[in-house]
């Protein structure tokens, strides 16, 4: 499959680039080399094709690699206990303040490891976290220490040589308590929220980052997308999943 500049595919149900992605808060695309800044394959900056911040890492030993892994022949960013983060916590507060959003991630995770996307650690309270991999597949939003507003657990995720599309919808406003979040793997059946407490309105303690400080995360990332607000519908989540699957040939 040849690389096609983003933004020129028509939005459709057939796997083209949905038009709303350019106004999404987060759209990281490892196949778009123009968005990657590197030195000898170590990535110091991964530009966000969405509206919020770029993701950066200024410490060489914590920079992931480009040019060393592919998914469906497309470049993937290879994480090996590395971390990339955005710097402004308030930008990402929408992930845990009750706003509706969905995420979709193309990821290949080797055995016994996982990849963590978070605005906060579990022990520190307010924040959001997507923990994807072998040990756990979680989508949750912390309300405070020891509690969570949304907590979806798919149990052990799939691992190995194949990439997976993880996607989840947080519908905080219009859904019932039991439907406030869904988490899917490769368009499988959805597991739904198991908690029902008031959402936090506080800022997360950390800005959004791929990998937490001190975490040991391994995995090849193809694309990371978060869509919020009016565009964050189940229909659009499916459109994004179709686009990602057509591009990365996941399932």
């Amino acid at each position: 499959m040849s690389l096609v500049p983003w933004g020129i595919w028509a939005s459709s149900g057939g796997g083209g680039v949905p038009a709303f992605l350019s106004s999404a808060p987060l759209w990281l695309d490892a196949s778009d080399s123009a968005t990657i800044t590197q030195s000898d394959g170590s990535v110091s900056q991964w530009n966000n094709k969405g509206t919020l911040e770029n993701f950066v890492q200024d410490s060489g030993s914590l920079q992931p690699l480009t040019g060393s892994a592919t998914i469906n022949g497309l470049n993937a960013i290879q994480f090996s206990a590395d971390i990339m983060g955005a710097s402004t916590a308030s930008d990402w507060a929408f992930l845990n303040n009750g706003e509706t959003y969905f995420f979709a991630i193309v990821l290949r995770t080797p055995t016994d490891k996982f990849v963590n996307f978070a605005t906060q650690s579990a022990s520190a309270g307010v924040g959001a976290q997507f923990l994807l991999g072998n040990y756990y597949t979680f989508f949750r939003i912390f309300r405070g220490v020891g509690g969570s507003y949304i907590n979806v657990d798919l149990g052990d995720g799939a691992v190995g040589t194949s990439a997976i599309i993880y996607s989840g919808l947080s519908d905080a406003d219009s859904a019932t308590a039991s439907e406030k979040a869904q988490l899917r793997i490769n368009d499988g059946s959805a597991s739904t929220n198991s908690n029902n407490v008031s959402p936090s309105t506080s800022d997360p303690g950390y800005a959004f980052r791929i990998g937490l400080e001190d975490s040991d995360l391994l995995g090849d990332l193809g694309e990371v997308i978060i869509v919020s607000g009016e565009d964050a519908t189940e229909t659009n989540r499916q459109l994004v999943e179709n686009y990602l699957n057509a591009k990365w040939s996941v399932f």
Partner: protein, 85 residues
């Protein structure tokens, strides 16, 4: 691989040597154009010293760097990330 040091000063002694050898800080190149992008994130350090709850000072060091710069390198540290469910 992670390594631990007895003090910040001991870490700095090793890290400053690595920084100098690797030419850090340095700008980085756009993967598409191949040109240096001075506005993009520079590489400012080789690694970052972290502290555990037990006050152990440790940092991630890649294997090839550990082999190239063994002088003043700390002890291997078996860091285990513990995720809190």
């Amino acid at each position: 691989m992670h390594y631990s040091w007895e003090s910040q000063e001991a870490f700095d002694l090793w890290h400053e040597g690595v920084m100098q050898a690797l030419g850090i800080p340095h700008a980085n190149k756009n993967l598409s154009s191949g040109r240096v992008d001075k506005k993009a994130q520079w590489t400012l350090s080789y690694t970052i010293l972290n502290v555990t709850k037990d006050n152990i000072l440790y940092a991630k060091v890649e294997d090839e760097i550990a082999q190239q710069f063994p002088d003043n390198l700390g002890e291997q540290y078996d860091y285990q990330f513990e995720f809190e469910i």
